[in-house]
């Protein structure tokens, strides 16, 4: 259950309990103490803005959600300060492969495989998928958090789905 009453205090409590984690995530991306602090405070602002998406009563989910916000906020700050060279712009315009469906087999283990694929997926693709499907953020909200265009968000969500399909296909072939 997600609490709405007195959400500022609840957000503050969550933020304080994960502030060190937020800072560490930000520092790993930004490699600068001042920027990492800015990213931490921006993460707090975004937690307040999207407080209705915060799973206050689920510690693990809350931690994952906060980590996603922190990570994407840091990347957004880094991109805006034009020091992140590894922005996946190169791969953004690649056409998404449309492989024949008959190559893919669904078994009772498929859900577990998908779980593992998502956990191992580049967060650049898994984060927007999780924001959209789990946190119920709109594409516009995801674009704001990630600091990318709406079109890019759509692309990354679709890319995540294709990566899952490709991996399932590969595993199906390996099992043959």
């Amino acid at each position: 259950m997600r609490k709405k009453n007195d959400y500022v205090s609840n957000v503050e409590r969550l933020y304080r309990s994960h502030r060190a984690l937020i800072y560490k995530i930000a520092y790993e991306i930004l490699n600068d103490e001042a920027w990492a602090k800015d990213a931490s405070q921006e993460t707090l602002a975004r937690m307040l803005k999207y407080h209705d998406k915060l799973p206050f009563d689920a510690p693990v989910e809350a931690k994952n959600y906060i980590a996603r916000i922190a990570r994407n906020t840091s990347i957004d700050i880094y991109n805006k300060r034009k020091k992140y060279n590894n922005l996946a712009a190169q791969s953004e315009n690649l056409p998404i492969a449309d492989n024949p469906v008959e190559e893919l087999y669904i078994t009772k283990e498929t859900v577990n495989e998908i779980v593992e694929i998502i956990r191992n997926m580049d967060t650049k693709y898994s984060d927007p998928l999780r924001f959209h499907k789990i946190d119920k953020l709109t594409v516009e909200e995801i674009a704001e958090i990630m600091g990318v265009s709406v079109r890019t968000v759509y692309y990354r969500i679709e890319k995540a789905r294709e990566l899952i399909k490709d991996e399932l296909r590969k595993r199906g072939a390996d099992n043959d």
Partner: protein, 233 residues
């Protein structure tokens, strides 16, 4: 529907099943939290962010309360209005209060601003310069008085009264017209004003030199007739 569409639907349902499981597990490769080097200034900035959000939330609550209070006040006013209008004893005073004229007196401004002295008034009286040509039946002179700048004659029949007063041309005379019916007219080619309310009826007319006021509890026709037969020599 193509096979691709079918598979996409299946994938969606699988994702709906898988993602909550992903979410319930701690993310891989999350760094371990360490003591971050946050200073007092950082704490202050964080407190400012939180306080700003609290202030915005308070403003939202205040707006919501005010809106609710306004709705309750409007409903209460409407209820009171319905209650008042449904009780006849209350309805009349309220309607009178709402619709009554704000003009409680009517001023007649006379062109001649020369002062009239007491001797002028005495001259009018002593030289018999006033003739009251019509007195309603049953009335007789009950009182007469020469006041400063005026002549005053009171007539009575025991139950009703009326008086005639004459004033020299002054600047302005105020006549009580509160809650009164007002009618402008001409008497003997002189401009006149008739005022009628629950207390008394008044005719006021003026010429180049004097203003004449006939006031009393008698009816309009008698007042008009008195005025028409009032002569100042």
């Amino acid at each position: 529907m193509t096979n691709k569409d079918t598979f996409d639907k299946i994938l969606d349902s699988l994702l709906d099943e898988a993602l909550p499981i992903v979410e319930s597990m701690p993310d891989k490769n999350l760094p371990e939290g360490t003591d971050a080097p946050f200073t007092e200034e950082d704490e202050r900035r964080e407190r400012a962010i939180l306080e700003k959000e609290r202030a915005a939330l308070r403003a939202v609550h205040v707006r919501a309360y005010l809106k609710r209070a306004a709705v309750c006040a409007a409903a209460l006013i409407l209820l009171c209005a319905i209650l008042v209008m449904s009780v006849s004893a209350l309805r009349a005073p309220v309607l009178n209060f709402v619709t009554k004229t704000t003009k409680e007196s009517t001023d007649i401004t006379l062109p001649n601003t020369d002062d009239a002295s007491t001797s002028d008034a005495q001259e009018i009286y002593n030289t018999d310069s006033l003739s009251v040509g019509y007195i309603p039946e049953g009335f007789s002179l009950a009182e007469r008085d020469i006041k400063e700048r005026s002549v005053y004659l009171l007539f009575s029949n025991g139950t009703q009264t009326f008086d005639i007063s004459i004033h020299s041309n002054n600047s302005t005379i105020s006549i009580n017209t509160e809650d009164a019916y007002i009618e402008r007219m001409y008497i003997n080619n002189h401009p006149a004003l008739y005022s009628e309310n629950d207390v008394c009826n008044i005719i006021t007319m003026y010429d180049d030199n004097y203003v004449y006021i006939i006031e009393g509890t008698i009816d309009k026709d008698n007042l008009v007739q008195i005025a028409q037969n009032l002569k100042k020599y």
